[in-house]
């Protein structure tokens, strides 16, 4: 009798001790905000499953150039939208161009993308900083985890923090005007699962610790209200998120240590491009009440506007219809399907 009771206890122990019920896997690769299924998008995904790299688009002759130009237009529109959202918040939007593909490792995407992003930003009226140029002084192997992975190494992360320090200092006096009441604010502001402390390895045998705060950002502390310090929100993709580094090693944490009178918020999510940032800020991140918004953009973000990439990775799971030229390019790169 006692034995059976003990077994019942064992089962109850299991079920209650795991009350979170949620399996904290690698949510970072697909942080879906809305689970609604768009049939058209599903159809595109099955019909056009391949995603070309930006250099492949640029090397695909006239069709590739035409598609790239379309992507540039979409990039410009999204950046303008991001500025509009930032302005509504009273936050200062700053564009920084950052990628470890520098020096010998620079691709056609970088060579074409950097001046384009600079000119688009200036046209819209945004301050823009090329953080890639100073990185040319370093070998790619020194600043990334190459050959295992192309994201920042511990050393690279420190160098990036050095590059961002003067930018943050320059805007240290700017404050936004917009605030939200308790009832207006949502509980989660970022796209990562909140309150995580997990070990991940992204399938590359490079384990790292991911800590997220209760608002779903990759940072060790929670944001409280009313805010008492300047808030700097960084938006970006995996170069900002910094996979394969612990929270204590990523450049936003290093910046936080250098700016104790500010709150540095890392809202990076793998695979995001500018229109994802627009929807992230409009729907969630605005509740962080940022004073400065720093967009960490990569020249590849332009190519990310190709319709198959958008249908696959877009934060808002809606259908992105291809133009005739995009379809032609798809057929050129991947055959009839």
């Amino acid at each position: 009798m006692l034995k059976k009771q003990l077994f019942v206890f064992a089962i109850l122990f299991v079920l209650f001790s795991c009350k979170d019920g949620k399996n904290k896997g690698e949510v970072i690769t697909d942080p879906v905000v809305s689970e609604t299924k768009d049939e058209q998008r599903e159809q595109y995904l099955s019909q056009y499953p391949q995603v070309p790299e930006t250099p492949a688009i640029l090397n695909a002759g006239d069709t590739g150039i035409a598609v790239y130009n379309t992507c540039v237009e979409r990039y410009e529109q999204s950046l303008a939208d991001l500025k509009k959202v930032s302005d509504e918040l009273g936050a200062k939007l700053i564009v920084t161009i950052l990628s470890p593909e520098v020096g010998d490792a620079i691709t056609i995407s970088g060579r074409k993308g950097i001046p384009l992003i600079q000119s688009i930003s200036k046209k819209i009226g945004l301050d823009v900083y090329d953080c890639m140029n100073p990185l040319t002084a370093f070998a790619v192997q020194k600043i990334t985890q190459m050959p295992l992975d192309g994201h920042w190494s511990v050393n690279g992360s420190k160098i990036v923090a050095d590059l961002y320090q003067p930018i943050i200092t320059k805007y240290s006096s700017h404050r936004s005007t917009k605030t939200f009441t308790e009832t207006e604010r949502s509980s989660v502001f970022g796209d990562l699962d909140p309150n995580q402390d997990v070990a991940l390895d992204g399938g590359k045998n490079l384990p790292y610790q991911l800590i997220t705060n209760k608002q779903g950002f990759r940072m060790n502390t929670d944001l409280s209200f009313p805010k008492s310090k300047q808030r700097i929100l960084l938006l970006g993709d995996s170069q900002l998120y910094s996979p394969f580094l612990d929270n204590s090693q990523i450049f936003t944490t290093l910046l936080q240590q250098r700016f104790p009178d500010a709150e540095i918020i890392n809202a990076g999510v793998i695979g995001y491009t500018i229109d994802d940032q627009v929807s992230l800020v409009s729907e969630r991140a605005k509740y962080a009440e940022p004073d400065i918004i720093i967009l960490v953009t990569n020249p590849n973000d332009i190519g990310d506007f190709y319709f198959t990439q958008r249908n696959k990775m877009s934060r808002v799971k809606k259908a992105y219809s291809p133009t005739a030229t995009e379809l032609t390019l798809y057929q050129q790169l991947f055959g009839s399907k």
Binding site: L2, K3, K4, L6, F7, A10, I11, F13, V14, S17, C18, G21, N23, G25, E26, T29, D197, V198, A199, L200, D201, G203, N205, L206, P207, Y208, Q209, D246
Partner: protein, 468 residues
């Protein structure tokens, strides 16, 4: 095609359906097993099937040859063993040899080999077969298909249990009929195996990797948790594979070795090795320990034999200095217990009449667990330098900081595994909790539910022992 995939489920279901459709013909069933096993193996890499086929052929011809001749049997046996082990030796140990020679000043480049998964396991299985024929424990098998099915049987192909020809070969020669009473033990083993693999092992594997990757910066307590978790990971992972293999084989009405007998309840290292990877221990005992003299040698004479067997076992696991040292360290544990007369051949589960272990039993269990666990730093670390780094930080980095949450977030699964094994130490299986079938079914359902709810998602971790 791993056990815990839908792909394997559909493959296995199809093979089973066909298998029981031709229940009237043993030969047809064996042909089906052979084809299915070769298909299963080819899914990893097409080239692997050539090694498997080659070894089966060599074992088949050697067996017949040894069975036929009356003189020069021993040279033929030695020739067969050399041939059978040649693939394993060349593919797995050439680069180790090159590293040793380079260590003495030479300059040779390492060679690139694709080592077939499971090669160590089926090489031992074929060597066991020809040796048993030589010893006249079994008749040489005259049916190539039967021997092929026995060696290549897909549930045990990649990571054992290593079958014993004296015990298991005959099953492939007998009429096998579908027995409904096999279903429950099969399901029981599979559910328990899935729990150990998908809930225990997979959930802690990256935490363990993290500890080894950050050994230079984590404190002693975190590193202690890391190596304890690794002990659970490797046990849960490897024993899960064996359990699922046994469960799947049971559906074919074939019994495989019980490879693990609650090893964490062992009270000394000798008992541990009788409970851990028993099919390898049996192989080492039958084909190394006994020929080298075994018990007849006396305590002192036994010492070099024990050390040699553990060294051999270490090298079987991997071709690096880490595994050599790991084997020798475990051999040393064994020898110390042997010299202190603390090795008892008493494998009855501990503390028969008690709910909780006595202090003495608990002390022995904990000491054995920690001895084995600390030796595993050598087993897990990439190289000797990393093992030293881990060990040094473990004993010297006493700075206080609370360990990362993920290091203890899944520890309750390890405790549940241990609790079930302790509670069920007198029964056949940890899930065999009652004579009342409805209570048992509820238990199976509960654990199936745990697997569904709490398995690690989005990452299919390879079974740890595939690398050996």
């Amino acid at each position: 095609m791993q056990f815990n995939t839908w792909e394997f489920f559909w493959f296995c279901s199809t093979v089973l359906l066909l298998y029981w459709c031709c229940y009237k013909s043993v030969r047809l069933q064996n042909i089906l097993i052979l084809i299915a096993s070769f298909y299963f193996y080819s899914q990893l890499h097409y080239s692997f099937v050539f090694y498997l086929a080659g070894l089966i052929l060599v074992a088949f011809v050697s067996g017949l040859w040894i069975g036929k001749i009356n003189s020069f049997k021993k040279p033929v046996l030695i020739l067969s063993i050399v041939l059978l082990s040649s693939c394993l030796v060349i593919l797995k140990y050439t680069n180790f040899g090159i590293d040793i020679v380079n260590g003495m000043g030479a300059r040779f480049d390492n060679l690139k080999f694709l080592v077939p998964v499971g090669l160590s396991f089926y090489t031992f299985s074929t060597i066991g077969y020809v040796t048993d024929v030589y010893r006249k424990k079994i008749e040489p098998e005259k049916d190539l298909v039967c021997l092929g099915a026995y060696i290549s049987f897909f549930p045990q192909l990649l990571a054992g249990p290593i079958p014993a020809a004296t015990k298991h070969l005959r099953q492939f020669k007998q009429q096998r009929v579908f027995d409904p009473s096999n279903i429950e033990p099969a399901v029981q083993k599979i559910i328990w195996g899935l729990f150990k693999k998908m809930v225990v092992a997979d959930n802690i594997s990256i935490s363990v990797d993290y500890c080894f990757a950050r050994a230079d910066s984590l404190n002693s307590f975190s590193l202690y948790l890391g190596i304890v978790l690794f002990s659970f990971q490797i046990y849960a992972d490897f024993s899960a594979y064996s359990d699922i293999a046994r469960g799947v084989a049971k559906f074919f009405s074939i019994d495989l070795f019980q490879n693990f007998k609650s090893p964490f309840l062992s009270r000394n290292p000798a008992e541990f090795w009788r409970r851990w990877h028993t099919s390898l221990t049996r192989w080492l005992t039958d084909y190394l320990y006994k020929p080298l003299g075994g018990c007849s040698l006396g305590k002192i004479g036994l010492i070099p034999v024990i050390l040699f067997i553990f060294l051999f076992s270490g090298l079987w696991h991997g071709s690096s200095i880490n595994f050599v040292l790991w084997g020798l360290l475990n051999g040393l544990y064994y020898v110390i217990y042997l010299l202190r007369n603390q090795i008892k051949h008493d494998d009855l589960a501990p503390d028969k009449d008690r709910w909780l272990p006595s202090l003495s039993t608990l002390g022995k269990i904990l000491l054995t667990f920690h001895l084995i666990t600390f030796s595993r730093i050598l087993f897990k670390a990439e190289n000797l330098g990393k093992a030293k780094e881990y060990w040094n930080s473990l004993i010297s980095n006493h700075s206080f900081s609370w360990p990362p949450t993920f290091l203890y977030a899944h520890i309750h699964w390890c405790l549940l595994l241990l609790l079930m094994e302790w509670m069920q130490r007198f029964r056949q299986h940890p899930l065999d909790i009652s004579n009342n079938k409805w209570i048992r079914y509820t238990m199976y359902g509960a654990f199936a539910l745990i697997v569904i709810l709490y398995h690690k998602k989005l990452s299919l971790q390879e079974y740890y022992y595939f690398r050996f």
